[in-house]
Amino acid sequence: MNSYPNIIRDGLWHNNVGLVQLLGLCPLLAVTGTFINGLGLGLATLLTLVASNVTVSLIRSLVRPEVRIPVFVLVIASIVTIIELSMSAFFHELYKVLGIFIPLIVTNCSIIGRAEAFASKNTVGRALTDGLSMGLGFTLVLVALGSLREIIGHGTLFSQAHLMFGEAARSMTIVLVEDYSGFLLAILPPGAFIGLGLLIAMKNLIDKRLQGKAAEKLATADVAQAA
């Protein structure tokens, strides 16, 4: 059941934090105004997930069940604070943009969720894989929603890339529509809800298609066998 490919598939698609578990909605909706903001918070969350999953898995035999939740909270809070300080030291501009959402990673339920539901019961290797794929799945959703809102709201993509990749990346910004007056709804919080709704709908549609195809294949195989 818990084979590595399964863990990866779960994290990226079947049990995606953003699209299926619908955890961590607060940062997901608040930060995804642009591609770069989404990527920044996504990577910070990914790092937190990996670090907390590995730590929790390492100490899983030591922790008594009665105090496991406080211990997890301690682990996660320490990791997030360390990441916040390092970000402020090395990506100061981006840190200023993402501001309060970095400490809020502590409250992202997906992290303690993975610690409790997965990492505390699995080996370090599996916990690491789970953290990586769950984090990556979350990052992908953040990035997709960020791009969607940036394209519709501002008519650009990759704007402010220099916050993350340095001055050389300033030219990365792609202006898709010249003199675009902007579409306010996409930038405001309601746009985030609508965008996430569309993404979830799209995932469900793809799932349905795949299911239909699988069923069809099965049916044709049956027919072929019968013949």
């Binding site: 105004g33 030591l62 922790v63 008594r64 009665e66 105090v67 406080p70 211990v71 301690l74 682990v75 809070a77 320490s78 604070t81 360390i82 300080l85 390092s86 402020s88 030291a89 090395f90 100061h92 501009e93 200023k96 709201g153 902007g182 306010l184 930038i187 405001l188």
Partner: protein
């Protein structure tokens, strides 16, 4: 006794974890503190230099700072830093960091640079939560509006015209957003008023280091 044993073990375990966690955080804090302070200093210097170019002063503007309090004209009851630019010991300009308390969604933090002759060297928005796409045109990156303050003073336009056009003043408002520019215009005007009343003492006070506001 046996009942308490597991509880005691759990407590000790939890305590150890708290110590390790706090220790790691303290270590990271200690090793990044200098770099973070440097980043903040750099970011502030960059925005100060945008308003008062480096060629215009030769003092350590970052440390030549006094903190003043005036909730009526500076928009906050907190101490407001005033950075002072000097050349050969002569005052060139002062950069105040007042607050426009009545923005559309809360306070707008500003940097207002005033030349020693009481004209504006420039204004920048440091922090705000105005509506993206409407009120955020006060940011220098998004529109030229904030540059319309350059060179202005309390006599240009005359004090009673320090308003947005809708209030029969001299400054443009934005389509769909009047409250934001109104708040900024008012805050800049009041900063100028403050400077007019206190300019001499602003330049004469001994600097207080930034760590002790």
């Amino acid at each position: 006794m046996t009942v308490y044993r597991p509880i005691a073990i759990s407590a000790v375990f939890l305590f150890l974890f708290a110590v390790i966690g706090a220790g790691l955080v303290a270590f990271t804090f200690d090793s990044t503190a200098e770099k973070i302070a440097d980043n903040e200093r750099r970011a502030l210097l960059k925005s100060l230099n945008e308003l008062v170019p480096e060629q215009r002063y030769d003092n350590d503007i970052f440390n030549d700072v006094v903190y003043v309090r005036n909730s009526e004209l500076l928009g906050t009851s907190e101490p407001v830093p005033v950075y002072r630019a000097r050349k050969n010991g002569w005052p060139v300009a002062a950069v105040l960091a007042p607050v426009a308390p009545d923005g559309y969604s809360g306070a707008i933090r500003l940097l207002v640079a005033i030349n020693v002759d009481a004209t504006l060297a420039g204004v920048r928005v440091v922090q705000h939560r105005e509506t993206p796409g409407l009120g955020d045109a006060i940011e220098a990156e998004r529109s030229n509006w904030i540059l319309s303050f350059n060179g202005r003073s309390l006599s240009n336009p005359p004090a009673e015209r320090w308003k947005v056009k809708r209030d029969s003043g001299a400054f443009d408002q934005f389509t769909g957003a009047t409250i934001t520019p109104r708040a900024v215009v008012k805050a800049v005007k009041e900063a100028l008023l403050y400077f007019q009343r206190h300019s001499q003492e602003l330049f004469e006070q001994e600097p207080s280091p930034p760590t002790q506001p």
